[in-house]
Amino acid sequence: MAGLIASSFVALATAEEKVDFVREVRPILEANCYQCHGEDKQKSGLRLDVKEAAFRGGSGHAPDIIPGKSAESPLIRFIRGDDGADLRMPKDAKPLTPGEIATLTRWIEQGAPWPDGVDRIQLADKRDHWSFQPVSHPEPPATRRTDWARAEIDRFILAKLESAGLEPSPETDRLTWLRRVTFDLTGLPPTPEEVAGFLEDRAEGAHERVVDRLLDSPRYGERWAQHWLDVVRYADTHGFEVNTERPFAWPYRDYVIRSFNDDVPWDRFIREQIAGDSVGKTEATGFLVTAAALLPGQIGKDDASKRLARQDELGEIVINTGEAFLGLSIGCARCHDHKFDPISTRDYYSLQAFFAGVKYGDRPIENPKVEAIVADLNARLAPLESELFRLVLPAGSGHTRAPVSARGNLERFAPISATAVRFTIQATISDNLREPFIDEFEVFDTEGRNVALDAKSTKVSGGRGKENLNNGIYGNADCWRSNEKGRGWIEMEFDRPHRIEQVRWGRDRTGQYGDRLAEKYTLEIRSGSGEWKTAADSSDRAAFDPDRAKAALFQPEDLAPVSRSRASEILARRKPILDELEQYAGGRQLVFAALSDAPEPMHLLNRGDPEQPKDEVEPATPAFLDPVQLPGDAGDLERRRALAGWIADPENPLTARVIVNRIWQWHFGMGLVETANDFGHAGTKPTHPELLDWLAGEFIRSGWSVKHLQRLIVLSATYRQDHRIDPAAMEVDAGSRLLWRFPSRRLEAEAIRDSMLAVSGRLNLKTGGRGFDLFKSRGGLSGFPPIESFQDDGRRRMIYAHKIRMEREIVFGAFDCPDAGQSLPRRRQSTTPIQALNLFNSQFTFDESAALAERARSEIGTPIESQVEHIYQLALGRAPDLSEKTDAVQVVAEHGLETLCRAVFNSNEFLFLP
């Protein structure tokens, strides 16, 4: 009604006179709107003081001005209060007068004429920014001093130093450089032999030989992969409240380590991580799903919760891709146009459309080798298990059997000819809250053959998912499920009698799930005569023990006491096989990666809210670079390949710059651009823009070789400088950003732990595979009790630890270890009393101090002087000077060698990349 009146009024007025924007319209906007929609604030993304922005409109109702259609223009609806008092504008202020409303209405009806050139403010073109310009190809500059530079890099650095009136520091001593480059490239200190070898190698090319050795070492990839895992927030749990284990994340971690070791060209590394499943590198797409994610059971049952969870999942992929490869905080544009960078909400959703077919989940890696490995492991396991079985006490023998375990339970009974078995569950753990699950129910005859496995001759009844009971597949995804909470039954009927002597059943043999476990049960067998008899039940099992909820078969109390020593011998031989088998689910190695599905339609969402979908969008890259656009019917792989190609294009001005800056930062502690994840307007400018471009160009020319770039860096004069502080230079450049010295810094958490183990002689160099435990739990709700003392696998390099998202390791976590919540572009260097307490008092430090002391004693013998010298050599790569030696010898004589080791592991000299 209001609209009608206004329109007819406008029709009359139009005939009379043209509204003048500058004289009549702008003063109204200025007085009433600019306070919230002008230069300082742009509430809801709307600004009305600049023509271009005003016609584009805000994030909620754009366009707000529809020329010629005042009744439909949100601007008019808001000032009139058509949509309720809550939405009347200006908010909480005096409404516009009827005359003012009429003027604006007439203006829009007349086509909203807004002359060019009248705005007082010119909007800066967001594309006009250094990092969006093509990479230039600068020549290294001339410098006054000509005897210092070893490489092009040095000339860029020296020129800047000279213009700031600074001089480079002298070259550092050979030992310091060796420790620096060894920590830097491998995360470990040089061994005394490596130190001696380098110090004695006075021939030409000694430095180069060290660098080649380090870059060729498998330890190199273990160090450098960690840098990338920080950026992509890698973890082995799903995060959020339940934080359950993500058991197959590690193949992606191993892929990253391998890629660094193999010097996979960076452009290929990008393509593989985005669309590796199209080239047989499925594990590389673990990159897309590194974020925390809600599992289906943790998402609300209502549709809105599901839509939000899906949108969050996709959002994390876009954020990761934008930050990791392009150095752009694209995530902002999910709810509103990026405040600083040329990324609109439409750009965001168009980019998201490239991933519209990606789901999070486990998928098999194509690998025939794995099947052979699993077959071999099973063949080795079988004789051990059958011997163990002979030692198992039968049910009802008067002994108390082990408590039920989710990972598997064995019921042994006297051989009997059976035509059917029945398993009745009377109760489950956790107060019968849930329906019991069983992943496989195996019935073995006296030949050790699982007779239930033959589906043709076995009829299964009871519950849901019956076929899962005897299909030979373990794990939660393939479970039988009861219809009732806390109870249930299964019956298996055979088409002929079998002479059977054991039944094995479990809730999840892969060890992931421990809930829904049957606790009270009866196993009955129908003999040839048709009579049912109880063969086993839970009455002689010990009470359920949460600490042993996932214990493996053949627990001590299940074995006849007389044979326990024989049993423990077999168990010890069996354990490594089981551990290895655990990495493979049913013969297939899985990876948590991108599941490729048909792309779902993607809509622009108002304020990022999935409940407010707007136009459908097609896959398209942001408009500011040479854009790629695909039709809406493009398939998932086609989409991801196209995006990967656009990112990995040598012409993309961001990609090479972003990675060479990261590499620089990982060597020097700070990048040429301080904000490594943000090359946009809100980030900082490069200290050395020409050098950055030169590095990017050189990187592409070398075939995107990371190792090539690193060789240039660590052999440069810049990198070889001493680290000592020069007070005069500090006054000019306290942060050493111009690199008048080498910026020494504390080692990262992983490097400290690994180095302690290396020095104590106990570092386990086993590579790859399932992570070792830092906690007694691999995921879940009830907290993470830490492991304090580590054996065997626990002494592997820390990158191979099972990484719990958001839970920091109890000793080293405090040393700025990332929590895998958000992308971490650069490790911080905090110094806290908690770090001091951890490193000085933890069991780990005591264990490794004892080990180092023992090592010194066994390698050197008794003289304290020699022990002290050896410890200095091992830990610090040098001999103690006289006063150090006197001091240490006295302490050792009085308080033991361990006391010295404990102090050394806490010392600044040991803990710094010099």
Binding site: E241, A292, S782, G821, L837, F840, D887, H895, A903, F912
Partner: protein
């Protein structure tokens, strides 16, 4: 300003200026004393981000404007306490007991919705304000006149973990800094011998979002909460290995000499000096933390007041001891103490997540919460500590007015729930914001939790829009791009 300074962010430029000033006179150890100036000089008031000196991260720093509260005690009830069984009285819900909710959602978080269910406890008018409060919490109810209630809070998530993240960090995602981290980053602490931010987990276990509630996110790690309780002492406070006192002292002093010799060879290096200082701080904490967790000095009447002497209910006694610990920490100037009541998801057994048997489980939880928490607030008041201390009682969201289908409990409801404030800067006896007559949704003065956090910062003298930290391209805040101070609850 040096020639390269224009390459730096705003924060970087400030740091550079300060460092240049300091480095003129800096020598190795001396620079620590000098740099402590950084903390004191109120830089916060003029720039977006506080300037932290790494050798003195907890030096007290001035707020943006005069603060009403110096310290905060956050009592965090994990699992989502039902507003309908506690503070938000809904007589209409009694009348409509057993009827379906017209136009209500057929499916809520956990599944199909059942019918409306009356509050499971009787309500009674309390104090001078005459506010209706539930019989479930008789001791807390006696405090009604002192509390300022906000009945109209909303959360962005209906899932515990993300919602606890949202309450504690302002974001549903993992990885953002907690309220306590932001607070100590802004203000440092008045006690250098204790952690500036202490989190006290419930005796039953950690809350659902666990360490996220006290994590540093991307802020410097020193600002994370240090978790310990009356039962579980701070880790690594004492040597884990078997060493004599003499050996321990010898290792410490040898380390000191090694580090000093090393510093002599590397003069002027602040990082090295800061690490030396951190061992001295650690040594002080080794003395002060055991002293504060030793409750044997508390008189019997105090133990009795809190219920810490309760021999028949170990969980209650344990929580009560945590309450006493919280008071002792506040007394000694710890900036922010986070006290948890309730643990992780457990079908409502260990926390307030009453989906199935709400009344039965709340009888147990209320007994644990009520007396000790009320005693804590009273004790703080008696000692005059509420003059400077803000007490916050909160939970991640509320519960539905319906029971779940086939159950005797309520599902998650992020659309309208109650938290309260008391103590420094708070107007007592206020009830602000309203939910509809059945308690389903906030309808008047609706406040997303952003507003709640903005209000807490405001009371500490911090403008939530100016307390920022640059991370991945954005000046991040506790309140994202939202937040309005709820002035109606301010004194």
């Amino acid at each position: 300003m040096s020639p390269q300074a224009d390459h730096l962010s705003l924060r970087g430029r400030h740091l550079l200026d300060r460092r240049q000033f300091l480095s003129r006179n800096a020598t190795a150890i001396g620079s620590i004393a000098l740099t402590s100036l950084l903390g004191r000089d109120g830089l916060l008031a003029n720039s977006n981000a506080p300037i932290i000196d790494s050798s003195q991260p907890f030096a007290p720093r001035d707020p943006h404007f005069p603060a009403r509260a110096k310290n905060v005690l956050v009592i965090f009830c994990a699992g989502a306490v039902s507003q309908l069984e506690t503070w938000d009285y809904k007589p209409e819900l009694i009348r409509q007991d057993g009827k379906p909710l017209k136009g209500g959602p057929p499916v809520t978080f956990q599944g199909p919705a059942g019918n409306l269910a009356r509050p499971q406890y009787e309500f009674r008018r309390r104090g001078e304000t005459g506010k209706w409060v539930s019989e479930m919490i008789p001791h807390l109810a006696e405090l009604t006149d002192d509390l300022a209630f906000i009945h109209s809070l909303t959360s962005q998530s209906n899932t515990h973990g993300p919602a606890e993240n949202f309450l504690s960090t302002g974001f549903v995602q993992d990885g953002f800094p907690s309220l306590g981290a932001w607070t100590t980053y802004a203000l440092g602490s008045d006690n250098q011998d204790l952690p500036a931010f202490v989190s006290i987990p419930d005796p039953r276990g950690v809350p659902q979002a666990s360490v996220n509630n006290w994590g540093p996110g991307f802020l410097p790690a020193e600002f994370q909460g240090t978790p310990f309780s009356a039962k579980e002492p701070l880790r690594h406070l004492a040597p884990a290995g078997a060493v004599s006192k003499a050996q321990d002292r010898a290792a410490r002093s040898l380390l000191q000499r090694m580090n000093e010799r090393h510093l002599e060879k590397n003069p002027g290096d602040n990082q090295l000096a800061a690490r030396i200082a951190s061992y001295e701080l650690a040594a002080r904490m080794q003395l002060s933390v055991p002293e504060i967790t030793d409750l044997s000095t508390e008189p019997d009447h105090i133990l009795k007041l809190y219920g810490a002497d309760n021999e028949s209910n170990a969980v209650k006694a344990g929580y009560a001891r945590n309450c006493i610990l919280a008071r002792r920490l506040i007394e000694r100037g710890v900036r922010i103490v986070q006290l948890f009541n309730g643990a992780y998801a457990s079908g409502g057994k260990l926390n307030w997540d009453g989906h199935q048997k709400l009344k039965e489980q709340y009888d147990v939880h209320a007994e644990i919460l009520d007396q000790p928490t009320a005693a804590l607030v009273r004790d703080l008041k008696q000692r005059g500590l509420l003059e400077d201390t803000l007490v916050v009682w909160c939970t991640e969201f509320g519960r539905m007015p319906m029971f779940q289908k086939g159950a005797q409990g309520r599902d998650h409801n992020p659309d309208g729930f109650t938290c309260w404030l008391t103590g420094a800067g708070i107007k007592p006896g206020v009830s602000h914001g309203v939910t509809d007559e059945l308690g389903r949704k906030a309808i008047e003065n609706v406040h997303p939790l952003y507003d709640f956090n903005a209000t807490i910062l405001h009371l500490l003298g911090i403008d939530h829009e100016r307390l920022t930290y640059f991370h991945n391209g954005i000046e991040r805040r506790l309140t994202n791009v939202e937040g309005h101070v709820i002035r109606e609850v301010l004194a």
